[in-house]
């Protein structure tokens, strides 16, 4: 599904150049649930941004579902993002004046899905995350866990190839975190490929594979026994 070869990325900080990613080689198969771990400054967010086509790499190859991602125009990147990727953010990033259902329907708007169908699909995905009764509520009327579940429903509504989650539990207490992870595990069970960036050990162990980043290189890449979040809920 995802293939990365010798990926380099550096940022210019005034006169100094900060080499963040120093040759990453990395492959994700269909249906995997991968945790990307590392301390702050290890380059994990940069990697996720490049994977999410929100930032470009300096050199190296990146192939997503057989499509080479290179030198994309803004418009093309937007198209690919819409078609291939679903984002889940630490701070949820819901549009605050839109109801839960409208937030979920938004990626479909950019896929030019007709309004009626958008609404139906949005309700369908809200039901899957267990928030159908909250469909007409604004984000400000929802709890943190509920917001993240709306965000997950939104990420899935476009039926992307890969879900990218950047610290999805970073703003949540541990009980809510496990609820969200439970949901992510269930989505993964249905065959969706998911990448989770986290610095929490317990969250990482709820995935099927852990990739450790340190100083811009992968220091460890191991399959783990998945801990089901269900038992903590």
């Amino acid at each position: 599904m995802i293939e990365i070869k010798d990926l380099h990325k550096s940022y210019k900080m005034g006169t100094n150049s900060l080499h963040v990613l120093k040759g990453i080689n990395f492959k994700v198969e269909d249906g995997e649930l991968v945790a990307i771990m590392g301390s702050s400054g290890s380059g994990k967010s940069t990697l996720l941004n490049i994977l999410g086509m929100l930032d470009g790499a300096d050199s190296g190859e990146y192939t997503l579902d057989g499509v080479p991602i290179k030198n994309l125009s803004e418009t093309k990147a937007a198209q690919y993002r819409n078609k291939f990727l679903g984002f889940i953010f630490q701070s949820f990033n819901l549009i605050n004046y839109k109801s839960a259902a409208e937030n979920v329907a938004l990626p479909l708007y950019y896929q030019k899905v007709p309004r009626k169908e958008r609404q139906e699909k949005a309700m369908q995905y809200l039901e899957r995350v267990g928030l159908k009764p909250w469909a007409d509520h604004l984000p400000s009327e929802l709890s943190g866990g509920q917001k993240q579940r709306v965000a997950i429903a939104r990420a899935m509504a476009a039926e992307p190839k890969v879900l990218l989650a950047d610290e999805p539990t970073g703003a949540l207490d541990s009980k809510t975190s496990y609820e969200v992870m439970d949901l992510i595990q269930k989505i993964n069970d249905e065959g969706n490929t998911i990448l989770v960036v986290t610095h929490e050990e317990d969250i990482a162990h709820m995935c099927k594979r852990i990739v450790h980043l340190k100083d811009g290189v992968i220091v460890e890449d191991k399959k783990v026994e998945q801990v089901r979040a269900e038992q903590y809920v």
Partner: protein, 414 residues
């Protein structure tokens, strides 16, 4: 533009951001409103000044003799010029085609005026029947001097409304009462009204009576004429100037006055005076335009500011939309679409409201120098367009920048 989905998205946004939309709309609408009202009152002042000029017939020309100041053809300066009946008659025949109404005037001096035992101190003037039209005097009771009075030396008098109030307060009407002028009884046959009290303090008697009864001979104190109306103002001014110069030339020749001795025969034309006022109102109009343009600029700045703040406020939303797959141009388009829509609706709202106000209230305004304020629809309409275009341009720059911002940056936690 005709993308129904886009419209729905915009209406959603507007419905859910009522305050923001309202404030944007209010600033645009009030800008337009103030501008239209200002322009309207500029026009109103112009109308009002034109109206003030209707006091005396606006085409009137007045001739006053004076004293020569230059030596000419062997005659010394300092001669007092005396107009006579023949001058008036000759002027009438010479400029017959150009004159609408005319009247010579005689000031009867050194006479005592009495009503019963009361001595009156009002001026007595001998005038012709047409003088009524020259002064624009309104006859409130009775009649003015007529031709019959002139040929029969009628002992009749027309008094001003103020005299009626001051002197004839005790009788029901002054008509039919007699006043004595140097012991000769004159019958009051009419009362006239003027715009100003001062002009109502005169007693008019037929000019022939004034000359024959009070030893006036054929002497005339001044002459007044009105010119026939023409369709436009510039022509009227040209006509007045021509007439004035012709008349002066004739009078200077018959009285042997140097052509450049303007003090000896003064000819004054209301039309030229009016032209100066027209110039003044043009300046006023210019001033209101200036104020109006400043208002538009303030409006443009205001709208631009609001657009920038709106876009700034929506940076995060733009980032989210981009992450969800919105193309840059679709974001710019959406923001501008909304901006144009709100500006246009509120702009035309302000336009309609202000024009309706001018239409309804305008005709009822009765203040000196302001009459029926109104505004040219095309001007107001273009102003709205200018504001919309300016608002759009002002919104475009930040929207373009916002669409180009890296998603990661716009989504960064503050």
């Amino acid at each position: 533009m005709f993308d129904l989905e886009r419209w729905q998205e915009i209406f959603d946004t507007i419905r859910k951001n009522k305050l923001r939309t309202f404030l944007t709309g209010l600033s645009v609408a009030s800008g337009i409103f103030i501008l239209v009202i200002l322009l309207g009152f500029g026009q109103g002042m112009r109308n009002g000044i034109e109206n003030e000029f209707k006091q005396d017939a606006s085409t009137s020309v007045w001739v006053w003799p004076g004293v020569t100041s230059k030596e000419y053809k062997g005659l010394n300066p300092g001669r007092r010029i005396q107009l006579v009946n023949e001058n008036y008659a000759k002027a009438n025949t010479m400029f017959d085609d150009d004159i609408e109404y005319g009247s010579a005037r005689v000031f009867v001096r050194g006479v005592s005026v009495n009503y019963g035992k009361e001595a009156l101190i009002y001026g007595v003037q001998g005038v012709a029947s047409d003088f009524q039209f020259i002064e624009n005097a309104q006859i409130s009771e009775g009649r003015f001097i007529n031709y019959q009075d002139e040929i029969s030396n009628g002992k009749v008098a027309i008094i001003g409304d103020k005299i009626k109030k001051d002197v004839f307060g005790e009788v029901e009407t002054p008509i039919g009462e007699f006043i004595d002028i140097s012991g000769i009884p004159f019958k009051v046959v009419g009362v006239y009204k003027e715009m100003e009290d001062r002009e109502e303090e005169r007693i008019y008697i037929p000019i022939t009576t004034a000359q024959r009864t009070f030893n006036g001979g054929n002497r005339v104190n001044n002459m007044t004429f009105t010119l026939p109306p023409v369709e436009n103002f510039d022509k009227a001014v040209a006509q007045a100037v021509d007439f004035k110069n012709g008349l002066r030339q004739y009078l200077q020749q018959t009285h042997t006055i140097a052509p450049d001795d303007t003090g000896a025969i003064e000819v004054w034309s209301a039309m030229e005076e009016a032209k100066r006022y027209y110039g003044l109102t043009n300046n006023i109009k210019l001033f209101f335009w200036f104020v109006g343009v400043c208002t538009i600029i303030a409006g443009v700045v205001g709208v631009s500011n609001i657009m920038m703040i709106v876009v700034k406020e929506r940076t995060r939303e733009i980032g989210i939309r981009k992450a969800l797959g919105a193309k840059p141009w679709s974001i710019i388009g959406m923001i501008l679409h909304e901006a144009i829509f709100v500006t246009a609706i509120s702009g035309f709202g302000g336009l309609i409201f202000s024009m309706a106000l001018l239409e309804i209230v305008g005709p009822n305004i009765e203040v000196d120098y302001i009459m029926n304020p109104s505004v040219n629809f095309n001007v107001a309409f273009s102003t709205v367009i200018v504001l919309i275009v300016a608002g759009t341009l002002a919104g475009f720059v930040p929207a373009y920048k916002a669409a180009k911002v890296k998603v990661i940056e716009s989504l960064r936690d503050e």
